[in-house]
Amino acid sequence: MSAAGIELSMDERERRMRARNRALLVVLLSLVVLFYVIALVRMSGG
């Protein structure tokens, strides 16, 4: 593979890693909200 090809691969690798990290952030924030809602409902006797 040429140097340009390897550079492109690295760019693509970093792009995928960034996208995965963002998705993980969204999942973790969603979990915080979910646990908060569950706690509220359970405390109110639901």
């Binding site: 593979m1 691969s9 995928r16 979910l34 809602v37 569950i38 409902v41 639901g46």
Partner: protein
């Protein structure tokens, strides 16, 4: 089976979409829908937010099963055209990533179901995941043509999980919903395997058309559609749905049998494909009818 992809290009890491793909979203949608119907039909009350959490747990549990299934089946997936582009055989994801993802999701779904809803539903969800992964994927799939008959129980359990989320136990109504999916699964899968028999044979999976031939498969498909008749009207017999549901579900079951008779008679790939497509519609419509009947779209009757 190697840990690293063997493609010539360097490993770039999985895309976010690949993590969604290994959850088998199409299978998950049917599981979620049938689980939701089980939850709605169950006697009792569950706070809407908790009901949403229960459905989420069922969805995540189903996805976890799919991910672990893809991890285990990556060698035969690579052989079959239908599955060759899945993230693992295509080399876009490492086996360990898929397995770890599946195990984490499975543990998460069972734990949240237990902590937020109840532990009976959590145990049933754990049983569903274990049945699909261990009994179906690891034990039966590569050993017996009855793989999808016995393994089909895993796909039939979600309404029971939904039901138990509300009641904390398993009622006869839940068993009736289980029976519908259980008897529906063999003709549904065998319709697919009839026109994919070559691929299954190449992969060494002993699906019924590969082992017993298409004629025996078509005969058994017809028998299972007949067994579906009493199962489909069982919710009415148990007072879970009204007579309009019974008439509609009975009619759909007759139509399903007509498709099976067509497959039995002409034996073409075309009729098998049509039966497969109708089987998906059948299950969706039967459960949608149960839902509509319960909500009360003029379906309620003396059977309740």
């Amino acid at each position: 089976m190697s840990e690293h992809p063997t493609t010539a290009t360097p490993y770039l890491g999985a895309m976010v979409g690949d993590y969604i793909r290994i959850l088998k979203p199409r299978v998950m949608s049917l599981v979620v829908f049938t689980g939701f119907v089980g939850l709605v039909l169950a006697p009792g009350h569950l706070h809407p937010a908790l009901a949403a959490v229960a459905v989420l747990c069922i969805a995540v549990g189903a996805g976890a099963s799919g991910a672990i299934n893809m991890w285990y089946d990556r060698d035969i997936d690579a052989v079959m055209r239908r599955t060759a582009n899945r993230p693992l055989p295509a080399g876009r994801m490492l086996p360990g990533e898929a397995l770890g993802f599946g195990i984490v999701l499975a543990a998460w779904s069972v734990a949240i179901m237990g902590l937020a809803i109840n532990w009976v539903a959590a145990e049933l969800l754990a049983l569903t995941i274990a049945f699909y992964v261990v009994i179906y994927t690891i034990w039966l799939k590569r050993r017996t043509p009855q793989n999808i008959v016995i393994g089909g129980a895993a796909g039939a359990l979600p309404p029971i999980v939904g039901w138990a989320a509300v009641t904390g136990d398993v009622g006869w109504g839940a068993v009736a919903l289980f029976a519908i999916i259980f008897f529906w699964t063999p003709p549904h899968f065998w319709a697919l395997s009839l026109y994919r028999a070559g691929e299954y044979e190449k992969a060494g999976v002993p699906m019924l058309p590969v082992v017993a031939g298409p004629r025996e498969t078509r005969r058994q498909m017809l028998l299972y559609t007949l067994m579906l008749w009493p199962a489909s009207v069982a919710p009415w017999l148990l007072g879970l749905a009204g007579p309009v549901y019974a008439a509609a579900a009975g009619g759909l079951s007759v139509l399903f049998t007509v498709f099976a008779i067509r497959v039995w008679h002409d034996g073409s790939d075309r009729s098998a494909r049509q039966m497969f497509a109708f089987s998906l519609l059948y299950l969706f419509l039967v459960f949608a009818l149960l839902l509509a009947d319960h909500i009360g779209f003029g379906f309620t009757g003396i059977g309740r």
